[in-house]
């Protein structure tokens, strides 16, 4: 079974701190994704990556950056955390590079980040 592991379940940070959210998958998946989930807004795509060192902006990349130095690890970075980044962050991975192939996303259990 595919396992996607997010390093922290809960995280509390102060405004202005640099925050790292880590995600590791164990199935050699090419694609990895970061979403944030807020009540009434569903999941919104922040960044995604289709290969090592490659990244693409999602729908709400402002205030975030990402790093993918190894295939299995995809990090989300909040350069200077703000209170409006308080949210649930979900990482996912998928096998195929091309969207036309059957390729469901496998999710981690999420990191609930609170910025005070």
């Amino acid at each position: 079974d595919v396992k996607v592991t997010q390093s922290s379940r809960y995280l509390v940070k102060r405004t202005g701190e640099k925050v790292f959210l880590e995600c590791v998958q164990d199935m050699d998946h090419e694609n990895m994704f970061w979403y944030r989930q807020d009540p009434g807004l569903g999941l919104r795509l922040i960044y995604f990556s289709y290969d090592v060192k490659m990244k693409e902006k999602g729908d709400i990349p402002e205030g975030y950056s990402v790093s993918r130095e190894k295939k299995e690890r995809f990090s989300l970075i909040l350069e200077s955390a703000s209170t409006n980044q308080t949210s649930m962050y979900l990482c996912a991975s998928s096998l195929n590079k091309w969207g036309k192939n059957y390729s469901p996303l496998h999710f981690g259990n999420g990191t609930r980040l609170t910025v005070t």
């Binding site: 996607v4 694609n31 994704f33 979403y35 009434g40 807004l41 569903g42 999941l43 919104r44 795509l45 995604f48 289709y50 693409e56 999602g58 729908d59 979900l90 996912a92 998928s94 195929n96 590079k97 091309w98 969207g99 036309k100 059957y102 390729s103 469901p104 996303l105 496998h106 999710f107 981690g108 259990n109 999420g110």
Partner: protein
């Protein structure tokens, strides 16, 4: 921008009844997927329907897709209390040749025993 919008936002039914959730999206897609999320957890993939398919079944799940109307529906038959969860549709559209999956806002389903 949000690709999918689910309707209704919340649904409460009795055990044994059928539950229908709808999803509308904005741009052309390669496939559409439905996911389930139990409270406070990650999402789990339920079923995928390709853009050239109109209907698909998996156990008690039935999904339809109407690409002319840019809409899909998920039917859960003979619902159980364990089906209580949030359900999301996700559209898979190639972005520069790469898989880009965007989600709707979700339907919260409550099945009353």
């Amino acid at each position: 921008s949000q690709q999918g919008e689910e309707d209704p936002q919340a649904l409460s039914i009795q055990e044994g009844e059928n539950a229908t959730m709808n999803c509308s999206y904005k741009t052309s897609i390669n496939n559409l997927q439905w996911y389930r999320q139990n409270s406070g957890r990650g999402l789990v993939h339920l079923i995928l329907i390709r853009s050239n398919e109109r209907e698909k079944h998996s156990g008690r799940l039935r999904v339809t897709l109407d690409t002319s109307k840019k809409s899909s529906s998920l039917l859960i038959t003979a619902s159980r209390a364990a089906d209580t969860a949030s359900y999301f549709c996700a559209t898979d559209a190639a972005s520069g040749g790469y898989q880009k999956v965007t989600f709707g806002t979700g339907t919260k389903l409550q099945v009353i025993p």
